[in-house]
């Protein structure tokens, strides 16, 4: 589980060697894009909504402090307790304290990337509180001791046989690989947990400032049960998740399920605006929202890169990414993966630990094209590569080579000399071998240098024409 994006190169090699995972990931990603295209293509004003949502989110980011204060006071008016967490440690402590205060020895959790980001599960377990993931995919990866390999479909890399085996091992049930039976096993196993947990932890897809509530979107109904059966509900939410008001919500709900799972609507859209009424006999008695910064305010400090905070974690960019389709989510070494992960990793973890992440992309732009928020991920990856270089985290030889090359390319004579050299060198190679270039020595050949080059050939052609 101790993954770090520092080892991306190693993870990529490992991922490429794992054929079953690659096939599973590629198939799942392709199916997802196809169903997304079908739904998005059926909405004639898709582009207009996209731009609307982008403008809403831009406005929120540009006035984030005001929206946060509005959200806080309206939540409080609704009886929701609002907590602020500077970083992961403080978020973990806040949630841990709420759990201790309500005497929870076990908590049910619905899918939340933000809690993954702060490593909440490990912390709770260390403190004697058992965290139980209730989303089927999350539950599977938790039983395996892994982290999710996709923002939306955490167990996308696993086959039904893998899942059957882990259920057999960990839940003591008879082996089955039938998806319906596997789902039923999880239902029965987790129903007991729902009924006995004193506390439920969820994330939040949106925080709605004017009405002081949060919105959790899901399909399995596990989030519904998480936020309504236990006595205490805690939602952990990044500060960037705000939207202005309820009127803005339908626009986001047009884009999110379509992009995430190819649905017009998710099965359940839960809007939570406070604890259950007194005497109603249901609903949590306490609702807490933990507003997490953990680097977001710093990311906001870059006028360009702040665009990455618009992300609604729909996972569409992963599905469309030709790199992700080859290597899956675990190769990125962190809880955010795929194109947006490549951009988030160095921003959250720093240029040193995250130095390889922005390079793990061919910059093809499929992510930006599919992103419901039109986040220009390639542009951000380019800037982040530059930040890695500035932080002196790019390789020593690369740095020297690039500086020399750039020096030459600004001087035609020098440039002509250095580019003349490989052509000559290549002539020394036996047969029609190409220049030995890294990355091109296996199942693929690089092009051959032309002995003359365009400029010479052009001059010769012109002479002939005269």
């Amino acid at each position: 589980m101790d993954k770090t994006p520092k080892k991306i190169k190693k993870y990529v090699r490992q991922a490429l060697a794992d054929m079953p995972v690659r096939t599973a990931v590629a198939n799942a990603a392709e199916t997802s894009v196809a169903s997304r295209d079908k739904i998005a293509g059926g909405i004639p004003y898709w582009e207009l909504v996209r731009r609307k949502v982008r403008s809403i989110k831009k406005d929120v980011l540009e006035h984030l402090d005001e929206y946060l204060i509005e959200f806080e006071s309206n939540c409080q008016a609704n009886g929701i307790k609002v907590h602020w967490a500077r970083d992961g440690a403080s978020a973990r402590e806040i949630v841990g304290k709420i759990a201790r205060d309500c005497g929870a020895s076990m908590v049910v959790k619905s899918k939340s990337l933000t809690t993954e980001e702060v490593g909440l599960n490990a912390y709770l377990a260390e403190n004697g509180i058992e965290p139980v993931e209730t989303d089927l995919g999350e539950c599977i990866v938790q039983l395996l001791g892994q982290i999710p390999s996709h923002l939306v479909a955490p167990a996308l890399h696993l086959s039904r046989q893998d899942i059957g085996r882990v259920f057999q091992d960990k839940l003591g049930v008879e082996y089955t690989e039938d998806p319906a039976e596997l789902t039923e096993i999880a239902r029965v196993h987790l129903r007991q947990k729902f009924l006995s947990a004193r506390m439920g932890i969820s994330g939040a897809n949106f925080g709605i400032a004017r009405e002081g509530c949060i919105c959790v979107v899901e399909n399995e109904c596990n989030a519904r049960l998480t936020v309504s059966l236990p006595k205490v509900h805690v939602a952990v939410m990044g500060v960037e998740k705000l939207i202005p008001d309820m009127a803005a919500l339908p626009y986001f709900l047009k884009l999110l399920p379509a992009s995430a799972t190819g649905q017009k609507s998710s099965s359940y859209v839960n809007i939570i605006g406070g604890p259950g009424r007194e005497g109603a006999g249901e609903g949590p008695q306490e609702v807490h929202v933990v507003l997490l910064d953990n680097g977001r305010s710093r990311i906001l400090g870059d006028g360009q890169l702040r665009e990455t905070l618009m992300c609604i974690r729909c996972g569409a960019c992963l599905n469309s990414c030709p790199v992700y389709r080859q290597i899956g989510g675990h190769a990125y070494g962190w809880v955010y993966m795929g194109p947006i992960g490549s951009a988030l990793i160095p921003q959250y973890l720093g240029e040193k630990e995250g130095r390889y992440a922005p390079s793990l992309s061919s910059l093809c732009g499929a992510c930006r094209e599919i992103c419901p928020l039109e986040i220009n991920i390639p542009r951000h990856l380019l800037k982040l590569r530059n930040k890695v270089v500035r932080a002196k985290q790019s390789g020593f030889f690369e740095r020297i080579a690039m500086k020399l090359w750039a020096f030459a390319a600004a001087r035609p004579l020098v440039y002509r000399f250095v580019t003349w050299f490989p052509g000559k060198f290549q002539m020394l190679l036996p047969g029609k071998r190409a220049f030995p270039a890294p990355g091109y020595m296996g199942r693929r050949a690089i092009g051959r240098f032309d002995s003359k080059g365009f400029a010479k050939r052009f001059r010769r052609m012109e002479r002939k024409n005269d």
Binding site: R51, E93, R191, E211, E220, S228, K264, R298
Partner: protein, 230 residues
């Protein structure tokens, strides 16, 4: 600790926001065409809206029937119950649903009726978590995506909507709206934030992308459009 975190975070955000955004975008440029496109989404007449609602329900694997009156509703609900063979029917509180339940019971005395609102919290959860069917009302229905909208504070219990395996939903014609945009316009100001949009049965595709109905919530959702409450 939290308090100082709060002020630190806000201060950091403010200082970060002194930098101007470099997020290429033409603000407000598309307001008008979008409003127009959304207006065009509205339905010409109630019948087309209802047809669309039925289609969308089918698309999310929910059933749809039109029920002339309560007698028809009782017959319909009795049949849905029989499909899965449940002997327990949960309703939230007194009202149409309880009336219909009693009408079914008069035909099949073995049917046990649970009124969720009458049970205390712990018992309510425990009873409803057992295999059962529910008959519930909702507050609105949305034609364009086949959603049902429940406002928490309008019902004695929302658990019957989520815990039982088969959920039958009574919708009244006047509750049907075109879409979420229309819903936001008519939502009572004090509805607060507590509501749920339900679209079809609970589902998952976490095992090899195979769609399975019935994850942690209902596996069957049947909608009956009750023409007349008589």
């Amino acid at each position: 600790m939290t308090d100082s975190d709060r002020n630190d975070i806000l201060a950091d955000i403010r200082s970060s926001l002194e930098i101007a955004s470099d997020i290429p975008f033409a603000v407000g440029a598309d307001e008008q065409p979008l409003e127009g496109a959304l207006a065009a989404e509205l339905f010409d007449d109630p019948q087309t809206m209802r047809t669309r609602f039925a289609e969308e329900l089918a698309a999310v694997s929910a059933d749809f029937d039109v029920l002339d009156d309560q007698t028809a509703a009782a017959k319909w609900a009795g049949e849905v119950l029989a499909v899965d063979g449940f002997n327990t029917l949960v309703v939230a509180e007194e009202g149409i649903c309880l009336d219909i339940a009693k009408a079914i019971q008069s035909d099949r005395p073995d049917l046990e009726i649970i009124v969720a609102g009458d049970l205390d919290g712990a018992e309510r959860q425990a009873r409803l978590a057992q295999p059962s069917a529910a008959l519930v009302e909702v507050d609105y229905a949305l034609a364009d995506i086949g959603s049902l909208v429940v406002l928490r504070d309008n019902t004695a219990s929302m658990l019957p909507h989520f815990l039982p395996e088969s959920v039958m939903v009574i919708v009244r014609p006047e509750q049907l709206l075109a879409n979420q945009f229309e819903l936001i316009k008519v939502l009572p100001q004090d509805a607060g934030g507590n509501m749920v949009f339900i679209t079809g049965p609970s589902r998952t595709a976490d095992v090899e992308k195979v769609l399975i109905l019935g994850a942690h919530g209902p596996r069957r959702v049947s909608v009956g459009m009750l023409e007349s409450a008589k």
